[in-house]
Each structure stands twice: as structure tokens, then as C-alpha cells.
């Protein structure tokens, strides 16, 4: 792929940088609240230090969930993915004005939602299940953020169209195709959340209607709530497929397989939400089983990704003199913090993936649902596979954005390893405690039913959590000094990797989105329509709201 004339993307860089700034602030709030939770579980309760800012354990936990998985991820992705698309198309975004308007809308939404959240008027967790009732501004603000993400989709589609007019015969560049699929998948998936907000929660919280159907709201939430994990993961895969192979000194193994896996994610990400509702009443077992089936089906593109990425890493390592069946792994350029962080994220993700299959199995789920096992699980996935990969990406991208070299490679390497080690301890303890029946979303330090044997592992939550916190602080320090104080020369941006089996070999249907979208709509309809219709017709389930915190 020819190098991009990066000076042409100056405006895109500033936009990406703006999104990243908000993302970093969110992550900062996220890890501070995380530290207090981890220490609290370990018996060191420091919440009194945080009053009057944080009013309770649950107030802190609501901040933690929203800031980490709704704000840090979303803002990072909306900054990163369009930038990658612009580089791949080798042209600016279709509308820079739209890009900035999107950013403005999302920040306004965040502020509107953030005020009640900070003031303890939305201590409803990031899942905000009604009939727990937050201040209306919380719902309105989050909805604006979602609308903002749709505008990103629009801009990407317009950019694709403009590029296509000039290149009627060319294959869509792989990173651009991935960017497009990520946002189109998300736009479909977010319709559940949008419906929940616009039809149920906003009118109810404003007092326009008296009641809400809690099960229907919850179901609409999980319509979006599972595929949102693919909204976090696909941008990570974009990096693993199109940049990491180059950073590892090799090439992507198979471009057609990469395209196929993204299309399968587009197809299969959404009709799976009931796997978060196995333990709910009011949904027939048969339909739960249908969602189990789709959940295992999405495992197929995940495995394709795993094999393809590992094969690409191997190509890189062998080109650097790596030998043996496994030993080549040591020959990866481990001194590059961007690569090291992302490979560590992959390793962690392998464990997370295995754990996820247990959650997805509808019988095993009974053991672990709503226990700290789940908390252990998603700190491996979104908390590490995604977060540590994003950190790795920023180790090359932030220097490019600010035009100065990374302040310290060594500090960055230390940071990535610390996160991995801290997370291993932290999540091991949470997994085991969950299997011993420790519930999540619970102020364990004050619980009336704590079991003595929990005490053997709870210290590890505090120790692991503290290590992660230190790692996060080193991360912020390094980025800040890169921005303000680095004397290192500006780096050359990482280029997209070539493929061993290139796009020429890919069947053309892998470039056409429309048939996949139609199929995806059919799957979603089959998986959801009967249950949703049944719930909507159920009028007795009309519940007024409660403020219980």
C-alpha cells in the first residue's frame, strides 16, 4: 500500500486528538473509581476520602461502569476508526464539518448525562435497568452520544461513496472496509438502545407517561448490550489485522479471511442478547436456546480472527529469525511498546474467550450469572483485550498526533506488563470468588453474608487492582510528557500491512455489504420479533419509578 501523505489529514488528526482527550479523561475517572472498588473488596475501605464527591460505593461503581465502557471506549473508537479509514482511502473524511459537529454533539451529550451522574442522581449503573429511575438528563445525554455515533457512520458511508466514485473498480482497502463494517454493525445494534431510550425511558423519566415495562426495557438494552462488545472489539481487530502484522515485521496472512470474519460479525453480532437474560423470567427457553446457537456461531469469526492474527505474527517472527513450534513467539519485537501491549492483550483475550464460552453456555451460566466471575471475565475482555490494545495503539498514534516522539519507551513497556500482571491477579481472584458464590455489584465490605473463605482471595483484588492503577498512572504520565515535554523526533506513522494472500484472491461478494445486511435483518427478526411482540402486548407490566439510592 502506498504511503499516505499525512499532511493532508491535519484536520482529521485534530479531530482524532479531540476525541482521545475526552476518552482519556473518562479512563482516568474509571481507574480511580476502580482502585477504590478493588481496595474496598480487599477490606481497605477508603470511600470516606471521596465524600462529598462520591456519595457511596454504588455511586462510584456507576461512574466506573459508565466512564469505562460507555465513554472511554466510544470516544476512543470515534476518534480512531475514522482516522484509519481516511488513511486507508487516502483522502480526507467526506465532511470535516460533520466530523466536528459529531464531536460537539457527543461532548454535549456526555455533559448532559454526566451532571446527574456526578451528582448522584443517576446511580443506576451503566445498565440503568428500570424501574430504577435516574434523572431524565442521564437518558437524554446518553442518547445524544449514541446519535453522535450514527453521524460517524454517516460520515464513513459518505467518504466511502466519494472514494468509490473515483475508484469504481478497486477493492475497498481492508482497513476502510473494517471501519465501515464496524460502524454499520453498531448502528444496527444500537437501535435497541435507541428504542429503549426514546420510547420507554425518556418519556417516563420526564413524567409524560406513568409506567415502564421493566422486562421489555431490559430486553431492548441487551439487544444493544451484547453487540456493543463487538463495537469495542472490531476496532481492536482492525489494528490486529492491518497494523500489528506490520509492527511485527511481517504481513497479514489472509486478507479474504479477514474480510469474511468481519462480514460474519456484521451478520451474527446482534441476535444473541438473550444470553444475558438466561436467568430472566418471561422469555421462553426455546428462544433463549436460539440465542445460544447464534452466540456459538459468532465464535466462528472469532476463531478465524485468532488463527489469522497468530499466523501473521508468526510470519513476522520467523522473518526476524524465529524458530520452533512456539519459540518464535519470543522473536517478536517485544521492545516496541505498541506491539508488546497488543500482543499481551491478545494473550489475555485467549483466557477471556474461553471464559466467555462458559458464560454463553446456558447451563453453565446458572453458576456464574451476576457473580464476580463475570467481573473477572469482562476485565479480561473489555478491560484488557480492548483497553490494553487501545493503549498500545496510542503508543504510536499519540506521538503522530502531537508531532513528537513517545516520551519513554521503557516506561510504556513497564506499563503494559504491569497491567497484564495486575490484571492476571485481579481477575483470577474474581473468577474464583464468583465460583464460590460472591455476587457482583455489591459492597462486599459491608455485606451481611460474607463467607469466611472469601477472605483468602479478596486481598488479591486489591493488590491486582492497585497494580493496574499504578500502570494506568504511568500510562497517563507518559502520554502527558509526550505531548508537553518530549524532545524525541516525530515518528513515521505505522503503515498498513500487506497480505500474503491478498485482496485480489477475495471473492467479490466480500465487498458487497447489501446482501449481508439483508441476511442480518432476517436473523435479528427471527431471533427477536416473537418475544418482543409478546412483551409489548403485555400491558399489566407497567411499573412506576423508584429512586433507591
Amino acid at each position: 500500500m502506498a504511503p499516505v501523505v499525512d499532511t493532508d489529514l491535519g484536520a482529521e488528526r485534530r479531530l482524532t486528538g479531540a476525541f482521545f482527550l475526552v476518552a482519556f479523561v473518562a479512563l482516568f475517572v474509571g481507574v480511580v473509581t476502580g482502585l477504590f472498588q478493588g481496595l474496598s473488596h480487599a477490606g481497605v475501605d477508603l470511600y470516606s476520602w471521596l465524600t462529598p464527591l462520591v456519595k457511596s460505593y454504588y455511586h462510584g461503581l456507576s461512574l466506573h461502569g459508565v466512564m469505562n465502557v460507555l465513554v472511554w471506549t466510544t470516544f476512543f473508537i470515534c476518534g480512531f476508526v475514522p482516522f484509519m479509514a481516511a488513511r486507508a482511502y487516502q483522502r480526507p473524511l467526506a465532511s470535516r464539518a460533520l466530523g466536528w459537529a459529531t464531536f460537539g454533539l457527543m461532548v454535549v451529550g456526555l455533559l448532559i448525562a454526566g451532571i446527574p451522574l456526578l451528582q448522584n442522581n443517576a446511580t443506576v449503573m451503566f445498565t440503568f435497568y428500570p424501574p430504577m429511575k435516574a434523572h431524565w438528563a442521564f437518558y437524554v445525554g446518553l442518547t445524544l452520544v449514541v446519535v453522535g455515533t450514527w453521524l460517524v457512520t454517516l460520515n464513513l458511508v459518505l467518504t466511502h461513496r466519494a472514494w468509490r466514485r473515483q475508484h469504481p473498480k478497486a477493492r475497498t482497502p481492508l482497513p476502510a472496509m473494517m471501519a465501515l463494517v464496524t460502524f454499520i454493525m453498531w448502528t444496527i445494534a444500537s437501535l435497541g438502545l435507541a428504542a429503549e431510550m426514546l420510547v420507554l425511558l425518556i418519556p417516563w423519566s420526564l413524567g409524560w407517561v406513568q409506567g415502564v415495562n421493566p422486562l421489555l426495557a431490559r430486553t431492548l438494552f441487551w439487544f444493544t448490550g451484547h453487540p456493543i462488545v463487538y463495537f469495542w472489539l472490531l476496532p481492536v481487530y482492525l489494528s490486529w489485522y492491518t497494523l500489528v502484522p506490520r509492527q511485527a515485521g511481517g504481513r497479514l496472512f489472509s486478507d479474504p479471511m479477514a474480510r469474511a470474519s468481519f462480514l460474519l460479525f456484521l451478520l451474527l453480532s446482534t441476535p444473541v442478547g438473550f444470553h444475558h437474560q438466561y436467568t430472566d423470567p418471561g422469555i421462553e427457553q426455546g428462544w433463549k436456546l436460539v440465542h445460544t446457537f447464534f452466540t456459538f456461531a459468532v465464535f466462528f469469526p472469532s476463531l478465524l480472527t485468532f488463527f489469522n492474527v497468530v499466523a501473521s505474527l508468526e510470519i513476522g517472527a520467523r522473518a526476524r529469525g524465529g524458530k520452533g513450534l512456539i519459540a518464535w513467539f519470543g522473536k517478536l519485537p517485544w521492545g516496541d511498546p505498541s506491539l508488546a501491549a497488543q500482543v499481551l492483550a491478545m494473550l489475555t483475550f485467549t483466557f477471556g474467550g474461553i471464559g466467555g464460552l462458559i458464560n454463553a453456555s446456558h447451563s453453565m451460566n446458572l453458576l456464574v450469572h451476576n457473580t464476580t466471575y463475570i467481573v473477572g471475565h469482562f476485565h479480561l475482555t473489555v478491560g484488557t483485550a480492548v483497553t490494553l490494545s487501545f493503549m498500545g495503539i496510542t503508543y504510536w498514534l499519540v506521538p503522530v498526533l502531537v508531532g513528537r516522539g513517545l516520551w519513554s519507551r521503557r516506561l510504556a513497556l513497564t506499563q503494559a506488563w504491569l497491567w497484564t500482571v495486575g490484571m492476571a491477579l485481579f481477575s483470577y481472584a474474581l473468577h474464583s470468588l464468583g465460583l464460590q458464590g460472591m455476587p457482583r455489584r455489591t459492597w462486599i465490605a459491608m455485606a451481611t453474608y460474607t463467607q469466611p473463605e472469601w477472605g483468602e482471595l479478596t486481598p488479591l483484588i486489591g493488590i491486582g487492582g492497585a497494580i493496574m492503577f499504578v500502570s494506568a498512572m504511568l500510562y497517563f504520565l507518559n502520554l502527558l510528557l509526550t505531548w508537553l515535554a518530549s524532545q524525541e523526533p516525530a515518528p513515521i506513522p505505522v503503515e498498513f500491512a500487506d497480505a500474503v494472500s491478498g485482496p485480489e484472491a477475495a471473492p467479490v461478494f466480500l465487498d458487497r455489504l447489501r446482501p449481508w445486511l439483508v441476511l442480518s435483518a432476517i436473523f435479528i427478526f427471527v431471533a427477536y420479533a416473537p418475544t418482543l411482540i409478546h412483551m409489548i402486548l403485555e400491558t399489566s407490566a407497567n411499573v412506576s419509578g423508584f429512586r433507591v439510592w
Binding site: T279, D280, P281, F296, N370, A541
Partner: protein, 163 residues
């Protein structure tokens, strides 16, 4: 070149096949164990109006009811921040069907030692059956965040030894 392409193609196939086979195999194993072990999840039981819960059967009379030899129904109402009744007693070896709902926000009913793990959602009735083969005390806890005192919401099944 052509030969090279075929090798690549075979390579790709070598990755694709296990990627299909693994989930299919696991799904099959899952189905066999799920049906073989008679594991049941809550399904559509009944709905009610939570505003009238105290006059709606069976929640007008919460508590334990014997429905057959060694078989009981435990009717439980969850509300902030306790279960009604907070304690039930059954003889060793009983089969107990929990019939639960919530009068306010969403709660959970979790008996880690008896494989009960369900949600109690206002407006919906949750039914789930389990057995207590061994005498002892079994704590049940609310494992869905339900407000400021969520961590104090728990109850007990006391399984009494047979004489």
C-alpha cells in the same frame, strides 16, 4: 504462482475448518449436557401488576406451601431491601419450587449451594425448582443491584435433618 495459490488456499482452509468444527462441537456438547442433566431456565410463567401484588395470588400469602409429598412451593416477594419471608424451613430431601417476584425494582435470587440463580422482575413471575438433599443452612442473596442497602438483602433456607 498457481501452485503457490493452491498452497495458500489449503492453508486458509486448514484454519477455517477447525474454526467451524470447534463451536459446532461445543454447541453439541452443550445441548447434550443441558438436556441430559435436565437443566431448566426460567421461562414464561405468569405476569401480574406489581401495584396489586398483596392481593394477587399466590403472593397474597407469601411463604412455604406443601404441594405434594416432599414437594414444596416457596412464594417469595422481593422488595427493597428484604425478602418476604426471609427464612423458610424444609425437611432434608425436599424438592422446592421458588415462585418469586418483585414489588419494586429488579432483584435477584441466588442460592449458590443449590444452583438457583434467577432474576426477580416486577410484573413477572419467576419459577425455578431445586432440591435440598442435605441438611444445613443455605443462604439466598439478592445479586442484582437494587439500591443503597443491596448488600444487606439476604435470606435463608433451613433444611432440617430427617429424624
Amino acid at each position: 504462482m498457481a501452485k503457490n495459490d493452491t498452497t495458500l488456499y489449503l492453508y486458509e482452509l486448514a484454519w477455517i475448518l477447525p474454526s467451524v468444527a470447534l463451536p459446532v462441537g461445543m454447541l453439541a456438547a452443550l445441548l447434550v449436557t443441558a438436556f441430559g442433566a435436565h437443566i431448566h431456565l426460567p421461562g414464561q410463567a405468569a405476569t401480574l401488576d406489581p401495584a396489586h401484588i398483596d392481593t394477587t395470588s399466590p403472593f397474597d400469602q407469601p411463604g412455604l406451601v406443601e404441594v405434594g409429598v416432599g414437594r414444596y412451593e416457596a412464594r417469595i416477594i422481593a422488595g427493597i431491601w428484604f425478602f418476604n419471608p426471609p427464612e423458610i424451613r424444609v425437611p432434608e430431601g425436599s424438592e422446592v419450587t421458588f415462585v418469586g417476584t418483585s414489588r419494586d425494582v429488579i432483584h435477584g435470587l441466588f442460592l449458590p449451594d443449590a444452583d438457583v440463580n434467577v432474576m426477580l422482575i416486577p410484573g413477572q413471575v419467576t419459577r425455578i425448582t431445586t432440591r435440598f438433599p442435605k441438611a444445613g443452612e443455605y443462604t439466598f442473596i439478592c445479586h442484582e443491584y437494587c439500591g443503597l442497602a443491596h448488600h444487606t438483602m439476604a435470606g435463608k433456607v433451613i433444611v432440617e435433618p430427617l429424624e
